[in-house]
Symmetry: C2
């Protein structure tokens, strides 16, 4: 791959065997994309319909209009998050493809400049002199790798996973609808507004708390703080909604 003279083991041709690392339990935390979609959809689904229903409870005396507004916002929000997210992911994929074509063209039109850009990135991490020169030539010796390198380290764009856009849209929208039904359900099942608000607040509070707890645990951060923060967002949103609805509707 490069023009280096025969080198001593253990870096001869491929990689040396992997030395022992930290035990399994101490590894870094990486959250899957699907878990992230679920978190986003569920958090929005719990917060917004709950705040809307709680706000309207201060301005309206019957449950049917609250249920109508709540289910309407669940439907609209599900579409906005799902379809909007799908199109945004597709746009990101097109943006990646367009930038990749441009970057590849630049390696044809301005090879010296593009090599220099590889050098500038490696230089930032301490490569100097002959090592920098040889490393740059190694990266640039294969055009696919060269462009891969520029996409990741210059433009900081990750290659989109095919099919992610659609599955992400379904996950997010589904989580939004499922989350949204929790605060609205009491208004559908009970006749009076204030008991429905109490049940809605209790159920949503438990869900937000548990959900914030879980998310913090998964990302390795203090769980109680995560739970309280998530609860605070829902509470502040609902309180402001209550005040606004009372001012406008009262």
């Amino acid at each position: 791959m490069d023009s280096a003279a025969p080198a001593p083991a253990p870096y001869r041709e491929g990689l040396p065997p992997q030395p022992p690392g930290p035990p399994e339990g101490e590894q870094h935390v990486t959250v899957s994309e699907t878990a992230r979609d679920l978190v986003i959809g569920m958090a929005d689904g719990l917060t917004l319909p709950f705040a809307l229903a709680a706000g309207l409870s201060g301005a309206v005396t019957a449950n049917p209009p609250i249920v109508t507004a709540g289910l309407t916002v669940i439907a609209a929000g599900g579409v906005a998050l799902g379809l909007g997210g799908y199109l945004a992911a597709r746009t990101d994929a097109q943006h990646y493809a367009a930038e990749r074509r441009r970057e590849e063209q630049e390696t044809h039109d301005y090879p010296e400049r593009e090599k220099w850009e590889v050098s500038a990135i490696l230089h930032r991490y301490g490569l100097r002199g002959e090592t920098l020169q040889r490393a740059t030539e190694a990266v640039a010796s294969d055009r696919r790798r060269w462009v891969d390198f520029m996409m990741r380290f210059e433009l900081e764009l990750a290659e989109p996973v095919p099919g992610r856009a659609a599955s992400s849209a379904v996950t997010t929208a589904g989580a939004y609808v499922a989350g949204g039904l929790i605060p609205i359900a009491p208004y559908m099942l009970l006749n009076e507004t204030m008991p429905a608000l109490a049940w809605s607040a209790a159920l949503t509070g438990i869900a937000l708390f548990g959900f914030g707890w879980l998310k913090a645990r998964v990302t390795g951060l203090p769980a109680l703080r995560g739970a309280v923060q998530r609860l605070a967002v829902g509470g502040v949103a609902a309180a402001l909604a209550f005040v606004v609805a009372g001012l406008v509707g009262g």
Copy 2:
């Protein structure tokens, strides 16, 4: 920095002068974080309150309850996006700091393993043999750079910008409220529901179209397609909201 023998120019010690690149107009497109926040806030603000108002227009015959629900969802959504986004950004910053501490500890506890991980990444981009060995030693010769390298290229975590969380929250929430007032304003100014719905749809449609156009132009993608897509999300969300509200409320 590394143990390489004196190397030929132009890679002697620092970087060589930058060779000429493509003219200014052909550069890659990078969208600022603030523009991204504005886009997210404005898109959500236009879509959800519009869909809610349009949906309720099919189930309610007077404008005041629509205005109440609309302003309530604007207030709650602004808090959810702003405060929620602020806390999420702060959580990301804490996650980055925690992972960075762990990564730094690993360079003390398992230096050979961490060097091997540097090698594995550079190997993916074509470095081999002595060049791979020297490049790995160069990265690992300075602990700060070494950890920087692992954070960026192994964990793919970017260092959070201090103060971004707060400014991002204010931008997103402000854009959401500004966008949300566009579809609700006609219901506040007019007495009858159907003319208000017509004005709301027209104003929101123009805003979504112009906004999708602008966003596509900024990211270098086909502008008409971007505009039509953005319009479609708003239209589908409103249509579904109309159907749901009609079924529940009628």
